[in-house]
């Protein structure tokens, strides 16, 4: 039996070798595109690696995968057919570029980063819709990660413009525990929770001063509620220190703000005035001259804070590959090192050098052979470990991906969009039938992908919310898959999916009813699985339809249900 063992990891050696080559070759090597360097760091081309590594996924699986990763839903049957029919050799790269520029990319990243940053906690001070819109616009403009984080950590929420960005801090109510812990987990990839009361008992490198150093950036900040408007925002005092005592050793200390092991950031000598806005019987939001809180974003995004770029590089990798180079993505410590340290450094440094352009990094990863491998292992290679990235991992669809993909497969998306367009045109027409310019504008509007995406999103959002309630997990997000009986009951018996299977209007089921059997089966497979059926599958489905002669309408509904409920549909594979 052949095995790739984690412990005697031959790839570590290769990774180190790659790192040395990168260092030695300098700029000439750097001209090799990043995706090729990613493959080299994973081991592509090495005989011992390729022996176990899966084959290329093929065009259909690639298209489904990249549509799900970059637009958050499967391709429509037409899109899948078009991609397969395209004979050009660079079609994968072109599809990646097209999807990264589509309005759905920003929507997908809105979902991903909302889940990552807020972890599906209930709304408190900043409404979800303005926050979602802020994220969507940020990704639409491809805002660099360091800029996005700076905005989130400096916004005080006192004016409407800064409220959305202040959600991370405001909805955690500036409480030391969730804020300091989540700063460590979400932005630095380190869960320092146990260092709160004592140096971490089992993880040597998590120290109390790491946790309290982070807490010290924010210990003077507080949730201010305006007495008149009742609006909450962030106020800050000019004084206050963070003291800590170990519950085990009674050793203690005082710490100024500090980013992990970087030098502490001491307060400047106090001037005559401590406040820009002075305290006044708790009725005002105090603003100090020197703000510790405003130092947080500076220290966080400073190039010396390597953990910041490693964390986001690792999280973006995990988003596409189904597993972090450090896994879990928020548990980086000596006992849980990266599987491919050189690769992680490479990704982190490239991201840094490209001004935290996340679209660049996602594009390069998606272009790699590593991303484009099949999720089927080679015969005899069933024991390849997940952290070798030699076989594509099954990524469970997020609740949002599952909702949108089911709506896409059942053609609820197409049917709804057609209705929305018609309504928009009709409303323009009724307003001023004589105005030809307005009518022409309306036509332009309904053909605009941005308008289409927004209109469709607004129309179908309630369904997405339903799926989030059923399939979402509140709190720390993991890449682990968990399926409950409740979820299966929702898919088996729930009214939502059943209504999508009704053969009304332009739905998939009503379209399938109009087709003869071979075309029916072909269209079913393209609509649901984004691929043509195999000969065996054609036989299988034909047998099913033949046993259901007496009620073909119902049979078509059952057929689509069975496909939607299958494992192939549930995962990004």
């Amino acid at each position: 039996m052949t095995r790739l063992m984690h412990s005697s990891n031959p790839w570590t050696t290769i990774c180190v070798a790659v790192a040395i080559i990168i260092a030695a070759a300098g700029s000439t090597y750097a001209e090799v595109p990043l995706h090729q360097r990613i493959d080299a760091a994973i081991g592509c081309g090495e005989a011992t690696f390729e022996q176990h590594a899966a084959d290329d996924a093929g065009d259909a699986a690639f298209a489904r995968r990249v549509y799900l990763d970059f637009t958050g839903m499967i391709p429509s049957s037409t899109q899948a057919r078009q991609f397969l029919a395209d004979p050009s050799p660079d079609k994968r790269a072109r599809l990646i570029d097209a999807l990264l520029r589509s309005p759905r990319y920003a929507r997908r990243m809105q979902y991903v980063f909302d889940t990552m940053l807020m972890e599906r906690r209930p709304d408190k001070h900043v409404k979800a819709d303005v926050w979602h819109e802020y994220l969507r616009k940020s990704f639409s403009a491809n805002k660099p990660w360091n800029q996005l984080v700076t905005e989130m950590l400096t916004a005080d929420g006192a004016d409407e413009a800064s409220r959305p960005a202040a959600k991370f801090l405001l909805d955690r109510e500036l409480k030391t525990d969730p804020v300091a812990r989540d700063l460590g987990r979400v932005f630095l990839g380190r869960d320092l929770q146990c260092a709160q009361c004592h140096d971490h008992p089992h993880i040597d490198d998590y120290l109390q001063r790491h946790y309290h150093g982070l807490a010290a950036f924010l210990n003077r900040s507080y949730l201010f509620v305006d007495p008149k408007s009742k609006q909450s925002s962030i106020g800050e005092k000019a004084e206050g220190v963070v003291k800590f005592t170990s519950v085990f050793t009674s050793e203690g200390g005082e710490t100024p703000p500090r980013m992990l092991d970087l030098p502490a950031i001491d307060d400047p000598p106090p001037g005559k005035e401590l406040y820009a806005v002075k305290p006044e019987k708790k009725k005002v939001r105090t603003v100090p001259i020197y703000s510790r809180r405003l130092q947080l974003a500076v220290a966080m995004t400073d190039p010396s804070n390597v953990a910041f770029r490693q964390n986001i590089a690792n999280r973006l990798w995990a988003l596409l590959m189904g597993r972090g180079i450090v896994e879990p993505v928020d548990m980086w410590h000596e006992g849980n090192p990266p599987s491919h340290p050189a690769l992680l450094d490479l990704l982190a440094n490239e991201l840094h050098e490209h001004d935290y352009d996340m679209r660049f990094l996602l594009r390069e990863v998606a272009l790699s052979k590593t991303y484009q491998r099949s999720s089927q292992y080679k015969a005899g290679a069933e024991n390849v470990q997940d952290d070798q990235f030699a076989v594509a991992l099954l990524k469970p669809l997020t609740p949002e991906q599952l909702a949108w993909s089911m709506m896409q497969a059942t053609a609820l998306t197409d049917a709804t969009l057609a209705d929305l367009k018609a309504k928009q045109l009709a409303s323009t027409a009724t307003k001023d039938t004589a105005d030809e310019v307005a009518a022409a504008d309306a036509t332009t509007v309904v053909d605009d992908p941005v308008w289409q995406e927004q209109a469709l999103h607004d129309a179908l959002k309630r369904h997405v919310d339903t799926f989030v309630t059923i399939f979402g997990v509140t709190g720390i997000q993991t890449s682990r898959f968990d399926a409950s009986a409740n979820q299966a009951l929702f898919l088996r018996n729930g009214a939502v999916l059943q209504s999508w299977l009704q053969p009304n209007g332009q739905r998939l089921t009503s379209h399938l009813k109009t087709l003869e059997r071979p075309q029916l089966i072909d269209e079913l497979f393209f609509a649901v699985f984004s691929r043509p059926p195999t000969a065996e599958e054609i036989e299988q489905v034909t047998r099913f339809l033949e046993t259901q002669q007496e009620n073909q309408d119902r049979a078509v509904g059952q057929l689509v249900w069975a496909a939607l409920s299958s494992a192939e549909f549930r995962f990004n594979h």
């Binding site: 929770q193 146990c194 009361c197 004592h198 008992p201 089992h202 519950v247 999720s375 089927q376 292992y377 080679k378 015969a379 069933e382 076989v391 991992l393 099954l394 469970p396 997990v473 509140t474 709190g475 720390i476 993991t478 682990r480 898959f481 968990d482 399926a483 409950s484 009986a485 409740n486 979820q487 299966a488 009951l489 929702f490 088996r492 018996n493 729930g494 009214a495 059943q498 065996e536 599958e537 299988q540 489905v541 099913f544 046993t547 259901q548 009620n551 119902r554 059952q558 057929l559 249900w561 069975a562 496909a563 409920s565 299958s566 494992a567 192939e568 549930r570 995962f571 594979h573």
Partner: protein
């Protein structure tokens, strides 16, 4: 790589030695090749099960099982005598006190963890770190009767706690917990209108055919977990009426109409219907402030309904075959903080347990006079894990036998609390 014990039912491997010896002494039948099989069948016929009552947030040992009235950290509440001479517990548990002869207390737990999530994981898995199954999932695997209509491990709670993979780890999603949020049947329990049973079977068969093709040369863990959820759903659909049964007025009078009372009633129904492990979570013991008011209220809610459930299990003759455990993720600091709260404390605290396989009316271990350290018979969640499983007749020192991999069921570095076992 170890390969072991092929060709027989895993339940046979973990039959507790104690039971083996007991029944071979009691019976004249020789223990030949068939003996083991008979043991396994007997075990399943006995339908042993576990009831876990989880006091979430960390109940204070000083306000429950290990009161220290009149001492520096003792707090305002008194200790009261119980039905077992010599055992005193907090006055906040008057009904439990009358039934102390059915339960025992372990007063010397030191888990060295003060974090909710890590403490809970340790208490459930009997391991500090690593991806091991919870007690409930182990019970589901080895104690679920073959014909059971219910998932083996059911958790009744007012809100979701995030249990990765439902606590099943490598035992698979079949043994992951079914979470019931309160006393409600799982939603969507009825098949869609217009779909008769035969059609439902047909569409499901087609789904399985699709899955079969997809599973070829792919890692099975995720797809099997997904399929298991459908399987579990189908079983629940078959037992719809169980969740719809209204509680009788008599039961409501005894258990109370508040959430925890209703959860205990549901737990009774689930246990009667073959669930191998029912966990009921009572939320709200994390009393960093106002510890005493909180415990007065919380334990006031816990005390009577729990005792009614205990009485009913006894009256139905089920207590001998049901292990009952009342536990938390840790206890609370002896030192009262400035907000009259007690904080997280894994260092010296207590649980109570009784029923199947447990010596009743015993106290194991003790803390020092101020309650600040374990003074005698220190144990941790590893010892408790072994003890629970041995109590229901499983050999916790045996291995899970998983397709060529052997994984010790309990942590091999610790042992059960022998003096607690009946």
């Amino acid at each position: 790589m170890m390969r072991r014990n092929h060709g027989c039912n895993p339940v046979e491997h973990i039959m507790a030695r104690r039971q083996f010896l007991a029944s071979s002494a009691a019976s004249a039948v020789g223990m030949g090749v068939l003996g083991n099989r008979a043991q396994a069948n007997q075990l399943q016929r006995q339908e042993k099960r576990i009831l876990q009552v989880f006091l979430q947030g960390g109940v204070s040992q000083l306000e429950s099982w290990d009161p220290k009235p009149g001492t520096v950290h003792g707090g305002p509440f008194q200790a009261i005598p119980t039905s077992v001479p010599g055992i005193h517990i907090s006055e906040l548990l008057p009904h439990v006190a009358q039934r102390m002869h059915l339960l025992s207390i372990v007063r010397s737990i030191n888990i060295k963890i003060n974090d909710h999530e890590q403490g809970r994981q340790f208490m459930e898995k009997g391991r500090r770190v690593g991806d091991y199954p919870y007690v409930g999932a182990v019970a589901s695997k080895y104690l679920t009767p073959p014909d059971s209509e219910l998932p083996g491990y059911v958790h009744v709670s007012s809100r979701g706690l995030n249990d990765v993979a439902g606590g099943a780890a490598f035992l698979g999603a079949k043994h992951s917990q079914l979470k019931l949020i309160g006393v409600q049947p799982p939603t969507n329990l009825a098949a869609p209108s217009g779909l008769d049973d035969a059609a439902d079977v047909d569409r499901n068969q087609l789904r399985l055919e699709f899955n079969q093709r997809f599973a070829q040369r792919r890692s099975k863990a995720l797809t099997e977990a997904y399929d298991a959820s459908y399987h579990q759903a189908a079983k629940l659909m078959g037992r719809k009426e169980m969740f719809e049964g209204e509680a009788s007025q008599q039961d409501l009078d005894r258990y109370g109409t508040h959430d925890f009372g209703r959860y205990c009633l549901l737990a009774r129904t689930l246990l009667e219907n073959g669930a191998a492990c029912v966990k009921v979570t009572h939320h709200g013991y994390d009393s960093h402030a106002e510890n005493f008011n909180f415990h007065l209220e919380q334990l006031g809610e816990f005390d009577k309904p729990f005792c009614m459930l205990l009485d009913d299990l006894k009256a139905r003759g089920m207590l001998e075959s049901t292990l009952v455990v009342i536990y938390s993720e840790f206890g609370r600091t002896p030192k009262v903080n400035v907000r009259y709260g007690r904080d997280h404390w894994g260092t010296a605290w207590s649980i109570a347990l009784g029923g199947c396989g447990i010596q009743p009316g015993a106290v194991v271990g003790k803390t020092n006079d101020k309650g600040t350290a374990v003074a005698d018979r220190e144990v941790d969640a590893g010892h408790l894990f072994h003890t629970y499983l041995q109590a229901v007749g499983l050999d916790s020192t045996a291995d899970h036998d998983l397709q060529g991999r052997s994984i010790p069921i309990g942590d091999p570095s610790v042992a059960p609390i022998e003096e607690l076992l009946a």
